[in-house]
Structures are given as structure tokens and as C-alpha cells.
């Protein structure tokens, strides 16, 4: 009985395994990305596609120069890249927030009230198949080439992700929780606010995660057609100017901002809530 597995040894094993796994993940991710860059570089050089497919080295240095605001060539897109990114980000956030403000209450009501469901569900199901971009012309007709048009399109497009998730959450609440809440005196608005909303949070967060990613994608599409500023605008300008490197630079920044937002905001939210709720299900 000399070599008992004491807690310290076991903890060390866990740590070692975690380090191993993290290192493996990083290495594999690096290989994947390097592969993409390699194929890209090879295509670009081998077929001599400099004008329409500049090599990654050129694009990456373009990204760095743009971010450091020290481009050797003239900047053809008006305000600095940060102002464009910020403009896009704020529009996406506004559209997202408006969508959430409408989709979450509606989802809760449709999920819990047969009357509301029977009134609203057909309308929502009819609107759902219309893709977000199909709304862009109408948005321009209504709002002109303004922020409002872009925000409106994001709002319409992201409403559904949050609505359907919230509704599913509200509908799948364990009935005994609702009965308990009613027996302990919750009704009407209090019941919704204190019980139905928190009970639906895991689904709502999922909906928000999908919608936030969707909002960022949609913003770029809308801006390409309906804006005088923003990353979508930069993309479109780069095409008119035939600047493939700038085009791809903008695409990379879109990816980086989208990825960063997802990691930062949503994951934190999820970690704070979902564990607590779902372990119990």
C-alpha cells in the first residue's frame, strides 16, 4: 500500500493531459491554416493570378499596413478602417438589439399562450422563408441609402433566429415548474418575468448567438448595396477599384471581428448561464 494515487499526483496527470490536448489542438489548427495559405500561395504564384488572387503574403501585409494606418499606396475608402468597422459593428448591434427586443417577448408569448400562437404563428411562418437580402431593395425604397435601411434588414433577418429559439425554450419548460410557480403565487407578468423568461434563457442564449453571427454576416451584405460607409462599403469600393488585396483584407477583418465578438460576448454569456440551467434538465 505504498503507492496510493494521491490527489496531487492525479491533479498533475490532469494538468499534463490538458497541456497535451491544448498543444495538439493548436498544432492541428496551425497545420489547417498553413495548408489553406499554402494552397492559396501556390495557386496565386503558379497561375500568376496577382491581380485577382494576390498571394497571402501580400494580403497579410496589406492587413497589417491598414491596421497600422501606414499604407504605402493611397487609401481609397474615405474614413479609416476603424471607423468603417465601428460603423458596421454599431449597425449590426442595433439591428440585433431591436430584433432581440421584439423576438424575445414575442417568442415567450407565442410559446406559452395558445391564443397568441394561433394569431401570430401563421404570419411569422409566412415571412420566415423570405431571405434577409430579399428585404434590401424594399429597405432602400423605404429608408434610402441610410443607416436605417441597413439596420432594418439586419433586424428582419435576425428576428427569426431569436424568435424560434425563444419560442422553443418557452414551450419546452418543464410543466411542473410552471405549476409550482403558479401555486406559489406567480401569475401574469410576474410569471413571465420571474419564471418563463429565466426558464427559457438557455434557448434564448442559443438564439442570440446564432443571431449575432447572422447580424454580422447580414450587415456586410446590406452595406454592399445600401451604405456609404462600413466594411461592406469598403468591399464594394475595392471591387470597383479592382483592388483584390484590399477586398481580401476587408474579408479577413470581417472574419476577425466576427470571430472575436463570438468568443468575447457570447461565450462569456453562455458560460455564466447555461451550465447552471441545463445540468438540471
Amino acid at each position: 500500500m505504498t503507492t496510493a494515487l494521491n490527489a496531487e499526483t492525479l491533479a498533475a496527470y490532469t494538468r499534463a493531459r490538458q497541456i497535451r490536448e491544448r498543444r495538439r489542438k493548436i498544432i492541428r489548427a496551425a497545420i489547417g491554416i498553413a495548408g489553406l495559405l499554402g494552397v492559396w500561395q501556390a495557386m496565386s504564384v503558379y497561375y500568376d493570378l496577382d491581380l485577382i488572387l494576390p498571394p497571402p503574403t501580400a494580403v497579410i501585409s496589406d492587413v497589417i499596413d491598414t491596421l497600422l494606418l501606414r499604407r504605402p499606396d493611397p487609401w481609397l475608402y474615405g474614413p479609416s478602417i476603424y471607423q468603417h468597422l465601428l460603423a458596421s459593428f454599431l449597425r449590426a448591434l442595433t439591428g440585433f438589439a431591436l430584433a432581440a427586443a421584439l423576438a424575445i417577448p414575442t417568442g415567450l408569448l407565442v410559446g406559452r399562450s395558445t391564443a397568441v400562437r394561433e394569431f401570430l404563428e401563421p404570419v411569422i411562418r409566412l415571412l420566415y422563408p423570405i431571405p434577409g437580402i430579399a428585404w434590401i431593395p424594399l429597405a432602400i425604397l423605404w429608408f434610402g441609402l441610410t443607416d436605417k435601411a441597413v439596420v432594418f434588414v439586419v433586424f428582419i433577418a435576425e428576428f427569426f433566429a431569436m424568435f424560434f429559439n425563444t419560442e422553443a425554450g418557452a414551450r419546452s419548460i418543464n410543466p411542473v415548474i410552471i405549476v409550482a410557480a403558479r401555486c406559489y403565487g406567480a401569475r401574469g407578468f410576474t410569471l413571465v418575468w420571474r419564471v418563463i423568461l429565466p426558464a427559457s434563457i438557455p434557448h434564448i442564449i442559443t438564439g442570440m448567438r446564432i443571431a449575432l453571427g447572422g447580424a454580422w454576416r447580414m450587415i456586410v451584405a446590406a452595406e454592399m448595396l445600401a451604405a456609404k460607409m462600413g466594411v461592406g462599403f469598403v468591399l464594394m469600393q475595392a471591387r470597383y477599384q479592382f483592388r483584390a488585396a484590399d477586398l481580401m483584407m476587408a474579408m479577413i477583418l470581417i472574419s476577425v471581428v466576427g470571430f472575436g465578438t463570438e468568443k468575447l460576448i457570447v461565450r462569456t454569456l453562455e458560460r455564466r448561464t447555461i451550465g447552471k440551467w441545463e445540468v438540471n434538465r
Partner: protein, 267 residues
Amino acid sequence: MGASAATAPRETSARIVIQAHEINHAYEASTGWSTALAHFNLEIPEGEFLCVLGPSGCGKSSFLRMLAGLMFPLEGSLLVHGEKIIGPGLDRAIVFQEAALFPWLTAAQNVGFGLEMAGWKKPQVRERVEHVLDIVGLSAAAGKFPYQLSGGMKHRVAIARAWAMTDAAVLLMDEPFSAIDAINRAGLQEHLVRTWLAEPRTVVYVTHDIEEAIYLADRIAIMTPSPGRVGAEIRIDLPRPRDRNSAAMAALKEEITAKMNEMERRA
């Protein structure tokens, strides 16, 4: 605590809390109506721990759901303090078969939920919650979330949530421990008795477990097989806490089993 102090107060003049008179109830299904309760009569005095005992499907839960105000008898009257039940209310607190805690609230917040709904001020809620958690022996778990509690602890929180409701004239429990393994169930029953002794309340406790009923009850209302009514009432005068292995318990068990078998035969 002396044995006499541990027995229920038993003035025959105790105020009647619950009065069920000639309740008939049936459910409508696709195959037609099926009767669940027929000529159900029961009176429950204040401070009594009453167990409703009966075979599966005899209508125990139906009766309890009526008391909770979650459904209404088709015929007959069901009164709490002389008033007709018109829906769920804070004058009745309930414990379900599942703990049915709110997973996003801590144990303490779960226990305080009903009090907050009743409009209590925060400090009073906190004081009452601390007191009740102490009675059920869960002071240390006050800040924990349901997922951090064992199954048995969750049920104790559920009991604390009901017990916290000082304005509840009656606590309703529908087989709260039936999904718990035998060893933990015995522990939970002990906790329940201790809680009841610390702060006696009128309790209607539904079970199909004879031993549990004998261990807990002041009085057992034995229901006939479906359609259910109260076929016999037995008073348990043993002092608490009770010894599960005593001869008196064994004798009672035998008597009740015989009664239930007899009802089964006649049904």
C-alpha cells in the same frame, strides 16, 4: 423532548381547515368518462398531519390537485376555512413528487420565492428563509443552486419552500419522496417529522406506502380502489419520533393491510 410533547395536539374542538363534501369527479377521455372520485368525504382539523393512503389510480393526486386549485371537482364542495377553492393560492403550499425547484435560483431564493410573491419585504423574507432552512438542516446549502444539491437535498429545499409560507393554512404533499431510494427516503421522512415537530402545520400527505403513512401521520385516510372515496380512517397515536421497528407499528401495518385488502376484494 418528552413523548407527550411530541404527539399532535388533539383537541376534538380544533378548527376544521379542509372540508370535502360528497365530491364526485370523472375525467373525460376519448373512450368516454372514467370516474376518479365518488362520494369522497373528508374533514381535516387544524394542525393535523393527515396521510391519504390508497392504491395506485384511486384518485389521491386528483384530490390533491383540487386542493391546490389546479382543477375543480365536477360535483360536491371543497372548502378551505369555509371558502370554496377558486384557484391556486398562497393559503396553500405544495410539494410535488419532483422537487420542482427553479434551477436559476439558489436554495435560499427558491425557499423565499413564495414569500416574495406574497409581498413580504426583503429582510423578513431573508429571516424566514434562514429559519426554515435551519429547520430542514440545510443552512450550509443556502447559496447553492439546485444542480449542486443531491436529490434528497432538493426535496428538503422543496419542503422548506412550502414550510416557509406562514400564511398557508395547509401544506399539500403528493408522494414527495416516492422517487427516492429507500435509505434516503427514511432520512427524508425523519427530516419531515423533525420539521413538523419544530413548527407544526396542517399537512395533507398523499402516499401509497403504508409504512410511510404510519411513520408520519396523526391520522390516515384510507381510500378505496378507483373510483376512490375514504373507506376507513385510522388514528395513529404513537409518540414521535416513531420507531419503525416497534411492535405497535407492525400491528398497525397488519391492520391497515387487512383493511386495504378487504376494500380491494369488495371493489
